[in-house]
Symmetry: C2
Subunit: 191 residues, 2 copies
DNA sequence: AATAGTAGTAATCGGCTGATAACCTGTCAA
DNA sequence: TTGACAGGTTATCAGCCGATTACTACTATT
């Protein structure tokens, strides 16, 4: 699973960092914070393990950067979806547009899972505040972009967390295991 | 955080297993599967690390047993809540009763977090099927106990996942950090 | 009292993992 | 061409962690 396009060339540090962030999203999404090694991230990007630590300082800092990268991409997606709407669109239509955008994100799987894995580290005092801040930031962004009230936004967030959970469970890939699974997935990953 | 009441006595294997499961719920809830060591679990219960492995076979088997123990306790809670209702209770009232029961579970924090940490391991082929089966089992139980249709049960599950997420984020303990946090928590951890 | 089985520990180990240090190498300005 | 800096690597380590082995100690039956 090599991310590189050109055959192993030198890059600027900034380019390499972005490439490593993409690699880290993939790795952390699969195995979480403690379950992922810096060497796994390095191999995906095609660099040596010590270089990853040199660029980011520590595994914790790498995870934090990865998490914030993922959060930014999700926020960008919401903003882009809101931008396609006419200025006089109603709240329900706005919520629906953002919901569809989130469902498309769910097909990548990695971005959402990095976020959720981040949430699971909130017991760590060094990570918790950043995780909470991010969740709240997204909540506020949705409210701002849609004009929804607290209840509507809460329901939107709830649906979002269920989608994320089903993605984490790989439920869409195992619909045949149980009819109830197909039912739940069908009613959740739809308009 | 010692679980033992009597001053270090011998127990039957069955007693010790139950005690270790409670200890494991606490440990895994905090740090997840890969982030928790078998030694941490052993220390909480006041036994040696090799003994934990002898009783459960492997760390993976311990986690699986812990996960299923937590899932059973959650199912028991739902069943108990449904049992308090009059036989002719309406679907919305039934859903509300189960929702309140889940909110009370959320005060323990550990049971819900073990479940969520379990979901995050679903990428592992050895664990994924069990995790999916459990989620579906709870979904089906809620539907059976309440008589709700697919949409209602989906909304119940969605709300449940948001509650679980906020608990994972330790959001109720940090309401002062942001007014939006207080707003979201208030609207989510209420009737 | 002997014996047998069950509860539990001490000692140890191989492999992994994050981190550090020291060194190499491509590129570009003067 | 010669620096000199930025982009990398190799080598290495200390500590941890799951697992195994071999041993000890309590308890109950006969």
């Amino acid at each position: 699973m090599d991310d590189e396009t050109a055959p192993r060339r030198r890059m600027t540090a900034a380019q390499r960092e972005r490439q490593l962030l993409r690699a880290a999203v993939n790795a952390f999404a699969r195995s979480g914070y403690t379950g992922t090694t810096t060497d796994q991230v390095a191999r995906i990007a095609g660099v040596s393990q010590p270089y990853v630590l040199r660029l980011f300082g520590s595994k914790q800092a790498l995870f934090l950067a990865t998490y914030q990268y993922a959060a930014s991409r999700i926020q960008d997606t919401f903003r882009a979806a809101a931008a396609t709407l006419p200025p006089d669109a109603e709240v329900p239509d706005r919520l629906k547009a953002l919901g569809c955008a989130y469902l498309q994100l769910a097909q990548d799987r990695d971005l959402l899972l990095v976020l959720l894995h981040g949430f699971m580290t909130a017991a760590d005092p060094a990570l918790g505040p950043a995780m909470r801040r991010c969740m709240i930031e997204i909540y506020r962004l949705v409210r701002t972009l849609t004009g929804a009230n607290a209840e509507q936004t809460r329901d939107f967030a709830a649906r979002g967390m269920l989608i994320t959970t089903l993605v984490a469970l790989r439920m869409p890939d195992h619909l045949n295991e149980d009819p109830a699974a197909a039912e739940l997935v069908h009613h959740t990953l739809q308009p």
